[in-house]
């Protein structure tokens, strides 16, 4: 294997970078994050036109059929741009869940997603905030031809921007996945105020909410574990992109800001902080692309590689953020400076799809037993 992006991947990365620089500069990020959903329909349509909404969907379903490494390359650029809105929730989480459903469900739910006409998210964790499905208690009961859901989901990302939500619930004790349309769920959705305003999170209450069954049993469990792995890789790629932007902003500042009659980047304490930021960023990149590759090739160590990427990127993004703010001094502590927006994203990402300690325990299960 080669441990560098090939030409196609580099081209994809470059075009994503340019697209986002044009369509979603920081001023737009700041505008969107103050809106209710942080979602912009115009931008979404343009991304759909790029084919991104079907990026990892099979070509026969109308997608681009890209692999995990290509997906990571695009998400890295999205993280770099701090793209607001439901792209990760929809394309990297809800998408793979729906794609695992039967062809009828795919036609009804996946096709509009690929076409950019719908976006979606998944409602998984509950009060305990644990990512192990064993702890989820939301239940479904049959109701005529359909089902009704009872329970409460927490920290659902982008629920308000989504046309439907994939919900994990127990059906006669078995794990099952349901689609709930925004119209039926609407009144039970309540926005929480997380640190990352570019990716709003919600509480969702289900009190007999009508739902359509997508799959259940082993199929649902496998779909869940695969979709979470995909979403985690996408998130870790975003995190790496965020780090490289913070590094870039910080180095640029260190080259121009003067104190004691010299640019602060000449002070070894400052310069070494920048060097560490570089080390963390590059190392995260190594971990992320290998996780993507391992997942793509379905290597036996894929799950561990994904956890390694999540653990490393989680600490790295936070530390890159800490150093980035520190080097910026008072300026880094203002609302106007962009670094804190990345820092907030870093914090939210550290918690998403399993906290660092949880992923370490998963790694231990593999390497210690």
């Amino acid at each position: 294997m080669r441990f560098e992006l090939n030409e196609t991947q580099l081209l994809l990365q470059k075009s994503a970078r340019e697209f986002l620089a044009n369509e979603c500069p920081m001023a737009e990020v700041r505008r969107l994050m103050e809106t209710e959903t942080a979602h912009d329909a115009g931008l979404w349509k343009k991304m759909a036109d790029q084919g991104w909404t079907g990026m990892i969907c099979d070509e026969e379903d109308g997608g681009m059929g890209l692999g995990m490494v290509e997906m990571a390359a695009v998400f890295e650029q999205m993280g770099r741009a701090l793209l607001p809105g439901p792209f990760l929730s929809s394309v990297a989480l809800a998408g793979p869940l729906v794609a695992a459903a039967g062809s009828e469900a795919k036609r009804r739910y996946l096709t509009p997603m690929i076409e950019g006409k719908a976006c979606a998210t998944a409602a998984l964790i509950e009060d305990s905030a644990e990512w192990d499905p064993a702890g989820w208690r939301t239940r479904a009961e049959a109701d005529g031809n359909g089902y009704k859901l009872h329970g409460r989901k927490m920290f659902v990302t982008d629920a308000c921007a989504s046309s439907f939500v994939v919900v994990a619930a127990r059906l006669s004790g078995e794990m099952a996945l349901f689609a709930v349309s925004k119209d039926s769920a609407g009144s039970g959705i309540c926005r929480l105020k997380g640190m990352d305003r570019t990716r709003p999170v919600y509480e969702m209450k289900f009190e007999g909410t009508p739902a359509e069954l997508l799959m259940k049993g082993a199929a649902a469990e496998n779909a869940l574990s695969h979709a979470l792995a995909v979403a985690t890789v996408a998130l870790a790629a975003e995190m790496t992109g965020g780090m490289s932007k913070v590094l870039e902003l910080t180095v640029a500042y260190a080259k121009t800001r003067k104190q004691f009659d010299q640019v602060i980047g000449k002070f070894q304490a400052v310069q070494h902080m920048c060097a560490d930021m570089f080390l963390w960023t590059e190392s995260s990149r190594s971990a992320v692309y290998y996780a993507a590759y391992a997942l793509d090739k379905r290597l036996p160590e894929a799950a561990t590689a994904v956890s390694v990427a999540k653990v490393y990127a989680g600490e790295a993004y936070r530390e890159v953020g800490n150093r980035g703010i520190q080097v910026h001094g008072g300026m880094g502590f203002t609302w106007e400076n962009d670094v804190h927006l990345y820092y907030r994203r870093a914090k939210a990402s550290e918690n998403a799809f399993g906290e660092t300690g949880d992923h370490r325990e998963r790694i231990a299960r593999q390497v210690v037993g």
């Binding site: 927490m154 640190m195 914090k347 998403a352 906290e355 660092t356």
Partner: protein, 360 residues
Amino acid sequence: MRERFEHLRAWQRRLYEGGWAGVAWPKEYGGRGASLMEQVIFLEEMARAQAPPIANTLGVGLIGPTIIHFGTEEQKRRFLPKILSAEEIWCQGFSEPNAGSDVAGLRSTARLDGDHFVIDGQKVWNSYGWVADWCALVVRTDPSAPKHKGLTYILVDMKSPGIEVRPIRQMSGESEFAELFFNNVRTPAANVLGKVNQGWEVALGTLMHERATLGASITIVYRRSFDRLVELTRQIRKNGRPLSEDAVVRQKLAQAYTELEVFRLNQMRSISRLSGAGIPGPEGSILKIFWSEYNQRFQQTAQEILGPYGMLEEGSPHAVDGGEWAYGFLRTRGNTIEAGTSEIQRNIIGHFVLGLPKSY
């Protein structure tokens, strides 16, 4: 905000009337004339009782002690009692947009015009500017002198024409600080503290006081946060058990407690030394490093323990303690920057305490 402030002012007034506002200040200026250690014990008891803070934090904590040390008898009589009674609230103007860590590199000027100084320039990271009656300002009075030599420390009436206060929004969302703009502001030359062009020594005194004493009441505040976090670990359950029984969480809490306790003891030693010497030394920098870096580590530990609930901000459903932990985590990022960055503090220890050559 204004209303809460008037509340604090009334509270400080009551303390003053009881003789508790300046426990270690001389009696003739409204203090109690007790020792610094007694003052610390009183502050600790205040914090322990969850009493509100005083209104005139900077006046009592930093500017008052500087006036006691450098002021003329007339300045002391004029300013000190009203600092203690909170009749006059103080702010200070040291940092400038181009002089953050390099405080002596500041560019605001004051030129003598008769028996007044005329001040022009811009200050940043000013606290209490929106409510202050007086400002302790460091300005350049001799632009031709080397940068530490041409500065003057001067006390300015905030009601003077030509002063504008603009709030700065911080990354944590609120506006605790402001920028101050001075445009042709006239101030009597009699308000210079210390001597003209020797303001750097006076400013250093204030900065070292800040490092040496800021920790005193912080310790108890930190201890309250720590105790609260412990309480939360008893309430939050993971895998069916309270977090307080989780071995990893227990190690983290014990480590936080250890650091907090060591900080408290460092602080006590510093106060003890200050009681003897009167003037804080450069060792105060280790207190500044310790409180700021402890607090960052502690808030990170809290986030790890609280999980995604910990990042919910004020006004959110399910926010832990009304969003205090999310705010704390973000606000804490500034601790290693404000009141002299960690890098500056390490420079001070390296150069002034250990005698290594100046590295900046």
